[in-house]
């Protein structure tokens, strides 16, 4: 049961992390700074999002109790 919960979460976590990062970066670029910094923040936060997704995947992969 616990494994079902973990493994059904991890795929969505990777996808949502990337899109949250991308969306926040896009918001910073276009709404806060008015498009002057495009595409710096979008790319930086896209990187953060990808890293967050794969960090969660890595944490699941190195768990000892599986």
């Amino acid at each position: 049961m616990r494994l079902l919960a973990d493994f059904s979460t991890i795929g969505m976590t990777v996808a949502f992390s990337i899109f949250i990062g991308l969306g926040f970066g896009y918001y910073l670029d276009h709404k806060v700074f008015g498009g002057r910094t495009t595409p710096v923040f979008t790319m930086v936060f896209l990187g953060f999002g990808i890293f967050a997704g794969f960090l969660n995947l890595y944490r699941l992969a190195i768990r000892k109790d599986l």
């Binding site: 049961m1 919960a5 969505m12 976590t13 949502f16 949250i20 953060f48 890293f51 967050a52």
Partner: protein
């Protein structure tokens, strides 16, 4: 798509209330009588009235009704105790047991023709998920005080500017994945049942999906409960 027949909406419409034909209405009254709200109230009434009727008066030697409810509540408490320890289970039991029973009944009610699952609306699942999310951080602050921020900073001080946004992003991804999983599963079940009833309802085409729907309802209620338990216990334990 064909508009489903929801008997509470029909009764309310006959009473002259502005029941919306989409998911959410325009005015406040139309929002209050939209289908997912009325069926939420139905589930709440079910959960309040049915235990009252079946429980009878509490006795030392339990009768049939009391035995059943003791098994349900005892099973839930044992399940929570296994996953987050006795102390945490006793503290968080009222909230999490409410969620589990509500989601279970709300998922199951959509299998009956003329009813719909309130959980097939994203607003309901998102509301529950936000409650879980806020409670997680309140618990973290209650158990660790200001030191709770160490959960977000990672092990190495030099990497803090990198780790802080990453941890925040993964906490927000939890909200999305918890709410959209429940919503997506139940919505898929409802839509599939509706289409199959429309196409070949007379030849029992929805029957296998109804059987799967029972399984999906139980599994999704348990998964929501279990993930909330895991988030709570992660907020209560020490930073890694």
């Amino acid at each position: 798509m064909e508009h489903p027949i929801l008997f509470i909406s029909i009764i309310l419409e006959a009473l002259g209330l502005p029941v919306p034909h989409g998911l959410v209405g325009d005015s406040v009254l139309a929002k209050l009588v939209s289908p997912h709200m009325t069926y939420t109230w139905l589930v709440m009434a079910f959960l309040i009235i049915v235990p009252k009727l079946t429980l009878g008066k509490m006795e030392m030697v339990p009768g049939k009704g009391q035995n059943f409810w003791e098994a349900v509540i005892g099973g839930l408490e044992g399940f929570m105790g296994d996953n987050m320890g006795k102390e945490g289970a006793r503290m968080m039991f009222p909230m999490l047991a409410t969620f589990a029973l509500y989601i279970l009944v709300a998922n199951m009610i959509g299998l009956i023709p003329g009813f719909m699952s309130p959980t097939s609306n994203l607003n309901i699942t998102l509301a529950m998920t936000l409650i879980v999310f806020v409670t997680t951080h309140i618990l973290g602050i209650k158990f660790h005080g200001v030191g709770y921020i160490k959960h977000f900073l990672g092990p190495i001080p030099a990497l803090i500017p990198l780790m802080l946004p990453i941890e925040l992003i993964s906490h927000f991804a939890r909200i999305l994945s918890l709410s959209i999983r429940l919503f997506g599963n139940i919505m898929a079940k409802e839509t599939l049942l509706g289409i199959l009833f429309l196409l070949a309802g007379a030849y029992f085409a929805p029957l296998p999906i109804l059987c799967l729907g029972v399984l999906v309802s139980i599994v999704q209620a348990l998964v929501f409960l279990l993930l909330s338990i895991l988030y709570f216990s992660a907020a209560m334990e020490h930073a890694h």
